[in-house]
Amino acid sequence: MNIDGVNTGIVLDHIKAGKSMEIYEYLGLDKLSSCVAIIQNVKSGKYGKKDIIKIDEIIDLDLDALGYFDSNITVNYIKDGKLVEKKHAELPDRLTDVIKCKNPRCITSTEQEIPHVFELVDKEKKMYRCVYCDALVKLK
């Protein structure tokens, strides 16, 4: 794999420096048979340092999950050496079983095996609301 360029595949750019391994595992990239390159501590004007992940295959990425992880990530789709699509990871509108409700009075604290569901209420503030008890949670 040529790590400078991907002929056909995906480049995850603007990953917060040091976070690429977590994302690699989170997205299950270790299970792919194609080449995956992780490039760490790349100098970047925008964030100082960043990580980049290059995947030598176009796979179905869960942009919501990626957005929850880090909403600054950009996803570049490359075909025949050309950038064909650029997407921004965004905070998902709904998180299911990603974060847990910490309100001790919430029904999720006693009811057996119900999913913890949160809905995005404020993109800027990264604020989510428990759909059961309305408790607010701010993502870091």
């Binding site: 309100n103 009075r105 919430c106 029904i107 999720t108 604290s109 006693t110 009811e111 057996q112 119900i114 428990c130 759909v131 059961y132 008890c133 309305d134 408790a135």
Partner: protein
């Protein structure tokens, strides 16, 4: 009701202003022509699932259903149900949903009725979920104000007592913010002020409000005075409770500067925050509120069941 979509009442904001207006109209018609409605829910069953006891609210629902010619079944505390054996809300509601046509439930945990609504196809009415919502109390309050004032806009509402934990207060504010020209006078000790997330809502809506500690000072401005109970369990120590619980007791003396057409409300039960000497004042509407509570619950049951009563 539109289509086949099941409607529930979990939070007061589940109802539009127009729908609330419709419920108020039906409730007023029920008051005038009770016989027209006496068989409206014949052969229908209301289940009252009270995982936490509240005799007053349960009786109001049961009385409402009986006056519509319907039947009631249910339990009145978790001890007398299988919930004490660890049965979940999901399983209870799935089961009862096969028996009853509509369910009113009260549960100590916040969000319990959301789960209930996901597990059954019969309408769920939230009859109180912990410190979270109690929308039928709010409907009751709106009907009382509407009947006493002939409107839900253009008035000054004084809210007095425990504004920090008082969910009826939060819910009433949320509901009345949707009407025009409502001013709020928030009367409480510093310890029990309205929480920030509620004052944020007032600010966002551009509402006119003031926070004040003296009930007597606020009195002359008010069209509505909504009293709430300062509950012992909200305090860490007995001393603070004893000091504060008597601070906002309504007496005939404190009413001296009040408007002649003031409407005094209270969600009940009261402990001593309103002197019994106020009960005979014609401005005292808290027992009348319980009658409004029955009428609005009747209207709500009809609405959620999609039953239209024909003109007699």
């Amino acid at each position: 009701m539109q289509g086949n979509k099941i409607r529930n009442l979990i939070s007061i904001t589940d109802l539009s202003v127009d729908e609330i207006e419709g419920l108020i109209e039906t409730a007023n018609d029920i008051e005038k022509n009770p016989e027209k409605y006496q068989d409206a829910c014949a052969h229908k069953q209301l289940a009252t699932l009270f995982f936490e006891p509240s005799t007053r609210t349960r009786l109001s629902f049961e009385s409402a259903m009986l006056s519509l010619g319907g039947q009631v079944l249910g339990f009145s505390s978790a001890n007398s149900s299988s919930a004490s054996k660890g049965e979940s809300v999901s399983d209870t509601v799935r089961t009862v949903g096969n028996y009853a046509d509509i369910i009113a439930m009260r549960h100590p945990k916040e969000g319990a009725p959301v789960i209930a609504a996901q597990r059954t196809v019969v309408p769920i009415i939230n009859a109180g979920d912990g410190g979270h919502f109690h929308p039928t109390q709010t409907l009751t309050d709106l009907l009382t104000i509407s009947r006493k004032k002939g409107r839900l806009s253009d008035m000054t509402i004084g809210l007095c007592g425990d504004l920090k934990f008082g969910r009826t207060v939060h819910s009433l504010i949320e509901a009345t913010l949707r009407y025009k020209n409502i001013k709020y006078v928030l009367i409480s000790p510093d310890e029990l002020r309205l929480p920030d997330y509620m004052t944020d809502k007032l600010n966002e809506a551009g509402a006119d409000y003031e926070e004040i500690t003296s009930l007597e000072e606020a009195m002359p401005k008010l069209d509505i005075l909504y009293m709430t109970r300062v509950q012992r369990e909200r305090f860490f120590n007995e001393e603070d409770y004893v000091r504060l619980k008597d601070t906002y007791i309504l007496t005939p003396e404190k009413l001296r500067n009040a408007k002649k057409d003031l409407v005094i409300m209270h969600p009940l039960p009261r402990v001593n925050e309103i002197s019994v000497r106020v009960d005979d004042d014609e401005r005292a509407c808290y027992f009348y509120q319980t009658l409004c509570g029955k009428h609005i619950r009747m209207a709500l049951i009809l609405f959620l069941l999609g039953i239209k009563v024909k003109e007699a």
